[in-house]
Amino acid sequence: MYIDSIKGLEEKANHLRRLVLDMCVRAGTGHVTSSFSCAEIFTALYYGGVLRYDVAKPAWEDRDRFILSKGHASAILYPVLADLGFYPAGELDKFCRADGMFGVHLQNDVPGVEICSGSLGHGIGVAAGLALAAKMDRKTYMVFTLLGDGECYEGSVWESAMFASHHELDNLIAFVDRNRLCATDFTEECVRLDPMDKKWEAFGWETVTIDGHSLEQIFAALGDFRSRPNQKKKPLVIVANTVKGKGVSFMEGQPLWHAVAPSGEQARRARVELTGKGGK
């Protein structure tokens, strides 16, 4: 499903937020705010002509690999894959139900999903291994991964970051969803993560910092990414400054909304706000 206008993509991002909200409200669980912060990134990847995939052949050998390292954002990947037709949209109604196919964290037996994830600091290493395998076999698929900023507390992230730059994995592109919140606190008050970009630079990555809610900036940061392999000699990280809970005013930037789905009047208000932004 390719959407060729920024306006259309912006509407899609809010549509996805609405799908996330409905799915999580119905189940009474799910990481709503962690999914809202990366809605534009998902929209660009899946609807903006970035990722190569084939809905009819989820295991297509030459597909790009999207490795969701922040596995709790499954709450938005599952709606995306349903919206694209990897499985019926009715599956979203069964989120976390006994007769459903998925729960809160990511599982790789769902069509279109590459890995199991939920524990943090894992996905980027898997992505690096896949990117290295592609290089060994001279395959042209790209490997994308999305990390949370709180995830960057995990030491394993930096083991993998070091590895990826050493092996010049220029077919690997990472996004860091820099929403400045971890599970219970603001990251800079928990344990300081800034300067995030300098850390990645120091680990040998080409680093671009953007407004992660600007689709124009996401596309600009990606640039002509298909020409990167064997040219750039460095993996690319896009540090996307975002707002956790983006799109629903009373949830934005609030630590208490981590892993919580709104209910009752709050759920209704959230729907109204998103619908007003095109999230039908």
Partner: protein
């Protein structure tokens, strides 16, 4: 194979296979050995040294396997198991990815290196993992065969290699597909042993014979999944069971045998022999340490005689 360590037998065979199959990849966490150096020099495109970063070793190995490679990852035993345990759970077992984790240094074979390098808990934790196969190597013949076997797997495997050059018990061409080998039959007691303790069990059986006690010896080299039928059938030839391992008893091989016997209604008297619960700041070599922890020939023989009375 006579003069080879288990490590060199395993990686020597893997080298032969990898020369013919460029999809065989060896991921190492900064480990060196003659057999590894040869692999690294001749097959550099198939050798990935991640540095001293075992967590990344597992995630990268998983990614390489997802990319179609036949992947082996290698480090000293505590570092390829305990250090990166949760990665093994998620990247290998939860996703059921066919990667072989190879560890060197079973039990206290890194003797004078001290407890950071001893591996006496790994059987318990690795056999706890769904989808994981746990192989404990008895000699270099078995080590080479394990290298061949693990090139054709569809689920994660863990291979334990002893650091010490141990005498060969098996002849080339021996079959290790069953997971259990009955090396000797005996009516009075059956000793189920694993790894380096298989040789000890054979020595103990010879000592017991001098006392007119006939002891059977079973090599349990596949600790998970256990070949229940064959193990139960083999131990049933005698009335009592001893398990023998250079490993902590909590959750170890003896525990696994006890579980199998209990679950199958074979409630034979059973004595587990292994290392005492603790860590060892004892030096002077493995033999000294075995003597002080009751795993030398005399201690094991005496304990069994006393228990049989």
């Amino acid at each position: 194979m006579k003069d080879l360590s288990q490590r060199d037998a395993f990686f020597g065979k893997l080298y032969e296979i990898a020369r013919r199959d460029r999809d065989v990849i060896l991921v190492s966490a900064d480990m060196g050995a003659p057999s590894l150096d040869k692999f690294r020099a001749d097959l550099s495109a198939q050798y990935v040294n991640v540095g001293i970063a075992e967590q990344n070793m597992v995630t990268v190995a998983s990614g390489l396997a997802l990319g179609g490679k036949t992947v082996f990852m290698y480090a000293i035993m505590p570092f390829v198991t305990l250090r990166c345990y949760e990665m093994i759970k998620v990247e290998l077992c939860l996703m059921n990815i066919a990667v072989t984790a190879v560890g060197v240094g079973s039990g206290i074979s890194y003797d004078d290196s001290g407890p950071t390098h001893h591996s006496t808990e790994d059987i318990a934790i690795m056999r706890a993992l769904p989808n994981m196969t746990v192989l404990n190597t008895t000699d270099s013949v078995m080590a080479a065969r394990f290298a061949e076997m693990t090139c054709h797997i569809s689920s994660p495997h863990y291979v334990r290699l002893d650091r010490e050059k141990l005498p060969n018990i098996y002849k080339a061409g021996a079959d290790f597909s069953t997971g259990v080998t009955e090396l000797k039959t005996g009516r009075d007691v059956c000793i189920v042993a694993t790894g380096n303790m298989v040789q000890r069990a054979l020595e103990v059986a010879a000592e017991l014979a001098k006392q007119n006690i006939t002891a059977g010896v079973i090599d349990l080299y596949r600790i998970k999944p256990i070949n229940t039928e064959l193990l139960v059938k083999s131990v049933s030839r005698s009335g009592r069971v001893v398990t023998l391992e250079e490993n902590l008893l909590n959750g170890g091989m003896g525990s696994a045998v006890a579980e199998v016997l209990a679950d199958n209604g074979k409630l034979l008297p059973l004595k587990r022999i292994g290392l005492p619960d603790g860590y060892f700041f004892t030096y002077g070599g493995r033999k000294t340490m075995q003597s002080r922890s009751g795993l030398d020939l005399k201690s094991v023989t005496d304990l069994i005689i006393k228990w049989l009375k």
